[in-house]
Amino acid sequence: VPGSVVCCSSQNYPLYIRSVPTENELKFHYTVHTSLDVVDEKISAMGKALVDQRELYLGLLYPTEDYKGYGYVTNSKVKFVMVVDSSNTALRDNEIRSMFRKLHNSYTDIMCNPFYNPGDRIHSRAFDNMVNSMMMQVN
């Protein structure tokens, strides 16, 4: 199941990158990069607007003919980008939203680990397992 999940810190460097399958990794990374640019654009456009739960989800960012990129940003400006294959039309908005919510919850669990320093790369079995099950679910 082709797809990619990326988690970026507030300074836009990657905390977690996962792509399946790994042959198309470069293409995924390209889409992720352009998606991040769109994310930044949207964030600066939001400006001083009150950010509630709904606005954390940024929606479809960057549709190419092959891939679709979705974005989600937390109040602490940590960004999640998910890239899925365009052929996967069965994926609905709710499902994408719930996947982002799961990512966000797993991320807060990692923050609760006293040995995790914010800004470090994420090396967590629980996080990996969650992303794995999500990638399989996307099928």
Binding site: I110, C112, P114, F115, R125
Partner: protein, 133 residues
């Protein structure tokens, strides 16, 4: 943990309204079933480790202190993460005139099969005075 324990015992006695324990075994049960339940919401199981009846083990199935800690990082592999609990128990017991040594015997965070705290009651000071007479 010791500083917490010497103060926590007053809170515990005020809240729990329990009678004086008549044996070390009762004390260990009290710690596991009432105190742990009250402060951490878990009930470790108690087992007696010695024939003399002064060494006990508390085996923790669930440990809320390590809910978010997946594993110890490599440079902290020798850390007893919850050693604070041992100090709490030791301090609390000391305030009711029960001298004890409390240490971790096993820790799941270090790769052991289970998390086990060992409590060894040392002789009560009153007993010693009694013997001298």
């Amino acid at each position: 943990g010791y500083s917490i324990g010497i103060r926590l015992i007053d809170d515990f006695l005020a809240r729990s309204d329990v009678k004086k324990c008549r044996s070390y075994s009762e004390t260990a049960d009290m710690i596991a079933q009432v105190a742990f339940k009250m402060y951490l919401g878990v009930t470790p199981s108690v087992s007696c480790r010695s024939a003399a009846g002064n060494e006990f083990s508390l085996i923790l199935d669930k440990n809320p202190l390590v809910d978010f800690v997946e594993e110890l990082p490599a440079e902290r592999a020798s850390l007893w993460y919850c050693n604070l609990l041992c100090g709490v128990i030791r301090g609390a017991l000391e305030m009711v005139h029960l001298a004890a040594e409390v240490t971790f015997l096993q820790d799941r965070l270090k790769g052991d099969a289970m998390t086990e705290i060992g409590i060894t009651f040392l002789r009560k000071p009153e007993d010693r005075k009694h013997k001298r007479n």
